[in-house]
Amino acid sequence: MRFAYYPGCTIGTTAIEFGLSTDAVCEALGVELVELEDWNCCGASSAHSLDHELSLRLPARNVALAQGTGLDVVTSCPACYQHVLAADLRLREDKAWRREMEEMLGFTYDGQERTRHLLEVLSTPELIEKVRQRTTHPLKGLRVVSYYGCVLVRPPEITGWDDPEHPVRMDLLMEAIGAEVVDWSYKVDCCGASLALSRSDVVITLSTRLAQAAKDAGADVIACACGMCQINLDTRQALEEKVPVLYFTELMGIAFGLPGVEKWLKKHTVDPRPVLRERGILP
């Protein structure tokens, strides 16, 4: 199984443990990721906040890079995912714009390469079975809530591969690695990450509410699939006893008994290791 890989800007920096765990888990599952040559930033919420055209052009270049590879593109960042999909949709539907982009970026759009999110790719029935087989250290007794955040599942007409209100694909993965999935009502509530720096008052309120809701549900940790959500929840929850926030790939890595887990977990602001030890998952 081979994919072109568009990691997104945070993977090398604030979400470095997401990138490392993604690499390790994919390797363990035989999913080969071929990084797109010379990818650029998708512009994230800043581009669509200030200039609609730019917000489509920046991700269009990444679509261009994937053309001709014959590989579907996997990205681990939900914002990148949403923006690349929006650009791809416009390339598909707006012929004049497609020509303009093709000319500007020197490529030919063939529309064969679909863009998918890492969670979508890893939670197919086939791979879930593989995950189950590969699990050597099941996360028994670890109570996990799945947190999808906003743009992974919305707007459904662009990103929709799971239910926009009650998505379950991360839950299925968590079950497959032996964790105890705890139901809660905040799976798709936004954490406000795009205001993390400019209006930290707002994101502290939202992140704290989410962390508190996870605790109220009885969760030990929050599993997430977005670099923005993770750093936001990890650094902005204003609780006395904080809830660790882990990437779903990190939890998979632990369950697979992969080397290097310690290195990822050290990167967290809220250290997840105490609770993992308490549950007998880490030595």
Binding site: N40, L50, R61, C150, S198
Partner: protein, 183 residues
């Protein structure tokens, strides 16, 4: 008695055309406001913005903080009974505010500008230099300082930017005709 609004139905049509969102369909059930995570911090709530757009209250809308606080999480658009996606409407309103010389919410605007400048410079965002630029722009030098240092110590923020090879191509993409990003 409050001063009566003078109505301008043309404004709603302009925003509808620019955003591609069927704003005139709104029947004001306020489901968007009810579900919006940041509504509590907005001066006008999302449904009120839609209504003010319908009524043509251009100044009130374009100078509101609400249009800068929308985080684009698409909760409203996903649940709206009339398929009105407010996020693209808020995008369009921000563009119109900037074009019309309305003052944006300073910190939000500063961050977006710094972010886009960073991409234009390197092709990807370089957090450290972007943050420094943002701090200077917003004149808010010290907030989140400890958090930033913590992240640096954990190796989550790199000191040196990497420039992608295709950066000139990226810069060409910035020539969209919008004074905002070319400035």
């Amino acid at each position: 008695m409050a001063v009566a609004y003078e109505l301008d139905p043309t404004f709603g049509r302009v925003v509808q055309g620019r955003s591609g969102v069927p704003i005139l369909r709104c029947y004001f059930c306020q489901k968007c406001t009810a579900g919006c995570p940041v509504a509590y911090a907005m001066d006008y709530k999302p449904a009120q913005i839609v209504r003010l757009v319908q009524l043509g209250q251009k100044d009130a809308v374009l100078s509101s903080t609400a249009i800068w606080l929308c985080v684009g999480c698409e909760t409203c658009g996903t649940r709206c009974p009339n398929q009105i996606r407010l996020a693209p409407m808020f995008d369009a309103l921000r563009y119109m505010a900037l074009e019309g010389g309305y003052k944006p919410e300073p910190s939000v605007y500063a961050l977006h500008r710094s972010f886009l400048d960073s991409i234009r410079l390197w092709g990807r965002v370089h957090e450290l230099s972007m943050l420094m630029q943002y701090k200077l722009r917003s004149r808010d030098l010290f907030s989140d300082l400890m958090m930033g240092i913590g992240l640096i110590l954990k190796g989550k923020i790199s000191f040196l930017p990497e420039r992608i090879r295709g950066v000139s191509q990226v810069r060409k993409l910035y020539e969209t005709g919008s004074s905002e990003v070319e400035r």
